[in-house]
């Protein structure tokens, strides 16, 4: 019984910690996003060039994956590699939380 409780508690704690780190801190991300705004527009909603993606309202784990892939070079973009290479894992989670929390310009809609 005691063992079950310990295992359950550990599982719950582990899950909670994972959820928090996966979510990031949107407010902290806002402060780190000023560099991004130069190209992706304020709040990531209005990119300055047609080939740059809209970020606002995108899923946070996809945004984090994109930044991690730019950082590692798995996704090859010289401009984004320069920025993403400077980011810590926490920076990436915070930025992902910030942009995903902005009003959604994107959707899964199929007309």
């Amino acid at each position: 019984m005691r063992r079950v409780l310990i295992v359950t508690a550990a599982a719950v704690l582990g899950f909670t910690a994972q959820a928090v780190s996966a979510r990031g801190n949107a407010e902290a991300g806002k402060g780190k996003a000023t560099v991004c705004a130069a190209c992706h527009g304020a709040d990531g909603a209005k990119p300055i060039a047609p080939e740059q993606p809209i970020l606002s309202g995108q899923y946070p784990d996809y945004l984090a994956k994109a930044l991690n892939d730019y950082k590692s070079g798995k996704r090859n973009n010289p401009i984004m590699k320069g920025f993403a290479g400077q980011l810590s894992s926490q920076d990436i989670e915070d930025l992902a939380a910030w942009f995903s929390s902005q009003p959604a310009m994107l959707s899964t809609v199929h007309r």
Binding site: P53, Y59, M105
Partner: protein, 114 residues
């Protein structure tokens, strides 16, 4: 007689020019209507809110409706060339022509911003 010949040549050139520019405009802009028959492979993942990929990593597949068309075309080209690596997207993009990509980009780029 010569004047009429010149007029004919000019008319032909004008029509040819219009046809060319029309074709170019359609190619660069894509045709959202033409994409309707091409989205069946996209819908299974990108059409389901919150859908997650299971392989090779677990994350929510991006929302693409409302995204910038030029970004979508570049993404599809990068998957096709292998520059961007995702097994499913590479397989799907491999079967697309440039016109398919432009059409899909026009379709998704025009969505989600009503």
């Amino acid at each position: 007689m010569q004047k009429r010949a010149i007029q004919s040549v000019l008319a032909v050139l004008l029509v040819a020019g219009m046809a060319t520019s029309g074709a170019l405009a359609q190619q660069s802009g894509g045709n959202a209507e033409a994409a309707r028959g091409k989205t069946s492979m996209c819908i299974g993942c990108h059409g389901i809110p919150g859908y997650r990929t299971a392989y090779p990593e677990v994350y929510q597949v991006p929302k693409i409706a409302g995204q910038q068309p030029a970004y979508i075309v570049n993404a599809l080209k990068a998957y096709q060339s292998g520059q961007r690596s995702h097994p499913s997207m590479r397989g799907i993009a491999a079967g697309l022509t440039e016109q398919d990509m432009a059409d899909l980009a026009a379709y998704y780029g025009g969505g989600g911003q009503q």
